[in-house]
């Protein structure tokens, strides 16, 4: 179907009136909530919603909200009725994500326990593929400039060549992907920090080493190496306050402990303790 947007000239030279700004804003907010849809389809939804609001005689933002509910609620209801899948990063608890990271580590260590040098790359890849899908969903909560926690998702990928790639997924308001990096903010509204993709190269197939991944803000994240049977301590440090979803009852300064159940028969790892500094995110 040929699409005709608001502001376009229609066949026959009929001008399309501009809807009231409150109506446009409402429709735009609905469209903004529908992340994951192709951009053409989102634009079509925005046009359609505008047209529907005008047909209902709605002339302002307040009236739209009063009659149809918040744009977010409208978009969610629309998504469900249309059968569109929900996009985005699952907000799993951080400890689950860490457990998944340990799964990667375990996979690597399994490789060490069972690897045959000739086919190591293939075995490594196959073990990584077998891990829970792409590990999207680890969650780090960081405060933005207003002090509100902002969720940044991490995604661990294996590029098939002994390289584990940790990408920051877009969750920051206004974030965009540019040249493989996540860019936050703009010239007029500079970002609090500028996350970027980091690549960790495995220097030794027998262990997984994360080193030298500097945050652009100047903060350091401590590197760590995990070997079979080793207790692992991962510490994040630096001026940026890293806040994580803590277990119920945890207080600032507490350490979050994650005990994993490991099948010793498989000689994967005998236990792990992940320690993070908790900070006050308020």
């Amino acid at each position: 179907m040929e699409r005709i947007g608001v502001g376009d000239a229609l066949p026959g030279g009929v001008a399309v009136n501009m809807p009231p700004s409150g109506v446009s804003s409402y429709a735009s907010q609905v469209g903004a909530r529908l992340k994951g849809l192709p951009s053409d389809e989102r634009r079509e939804v925005v046009d359609d919603v505008q047209q529907r609001l005008v047909d209902m005689g709605i002339t302002s933002w307040d009236e739209a909200v009063a009659r149809l509910g918040a744009p977010v609620a409208y978009a969610d209801e629309l998504r469900e009725a249309a059968g569109w899948p929900r996009p985005g990063i699952p907000k799993w608890p951080f400890v689950v994500a860490i457990a998944m990271v340990l799964g990667v580590v375990g996979g690597v260590l399994v490789q060490k326990a069972t690897a045959v040098p000739k086919d190591y790359p293939l075995r490594f890849v196959s073990s990584m593929v077998a891990l829970p899908a792409s590990l999207a969903g680890s969650v780090v909560v960081m405060p933005d400039r207003t002090g509100e926690p902002v969720v940044i998702g991490f995604e661990l990928k294996n590029d098939g060549d002994r390289t584990v790639r940790l990408d920051l997924l877009q969750r920051f308001p206004g974030a965009s992907m540019q040249d493989g990096s996540v860019v936050v903010g703009s010239e007029s509204d500079p970002p609090l920090w500028e996350p970027e993709a980091r690549v960790f190269r495995m220097t030794d197939p027998s262990k997984l080493t994360f080193t030298d991944f500097d945050d652009p803000s100047g903060a350091d994240l401590a590197g760590f190496t995990i070997e079979p049977g080793e207790t692992v301590v991962l510490q994040l440090r630096g001026p940026i306050r890293y806040c994580i979803d803590a277990p119920d009852g945890a207080a600032v300064g507490d350490r979050v402990r994650l005990n994993t159940t490991i099948d010793d028969e498989q000689r994967v790892i005998t236990g792990a303790e992940l320690t993070f500094p908790l900070d006050d995110c308020s």
């Binding site: 005008v54 047909d55 209902m56 998504r79 009725a81």
Partner: protein, 107 residues
């Protein structure tokens, strides 16, 4: 009138197609027709989403018609496949009603 949301959801596709069986209509017209028929608390987003889904399924088609009092209106109409789907759906619905009535009449 139709209060049970699950029951209503199950027949909404058919209800929308029934409204459109005699000719094309645009969003707000459909809202009013459904409300007058008894679907009086359906959200606009639910009806619009249903229209999008039926269109994506190939059962409806749409076209934009210029309007002087606002943005172009999108009119929806049943496709041939949609008419076939409506006939099938109503046959199943009538069978279901018949079964329910016979159950209702059991001692």
């Amino acid at each position: 009138m139709v209060q049970d949301s699950q029951l209503r959801k199950g027949v909404l596709d058919l209800a929308v197609m029934l409204v459109l069986q005699h000719g094309e209509g645009y969003g707000y017209e459909l809202n009013r027709a459904l409300a007058e028929a008894g679907f009086d608390d359906l959200g606009d987003a639910t009806i619009y989403g249903t229209l999008r889904r039926l269109e994506q399924s190939g059962w409806l088609q749409s076209r934009l018609v210029p309007s002087t009092d606002g943005p172009a209106r999108k009119y929806y109409a049943l496709t041939t496949a949609g008419r076939r789907r409506l006939t099938e759906g109503m046959t199943q619905w009538n069978e279901l009603v018949s079964v329910m009535r016979s159950l209702e009449g059991l001692p």
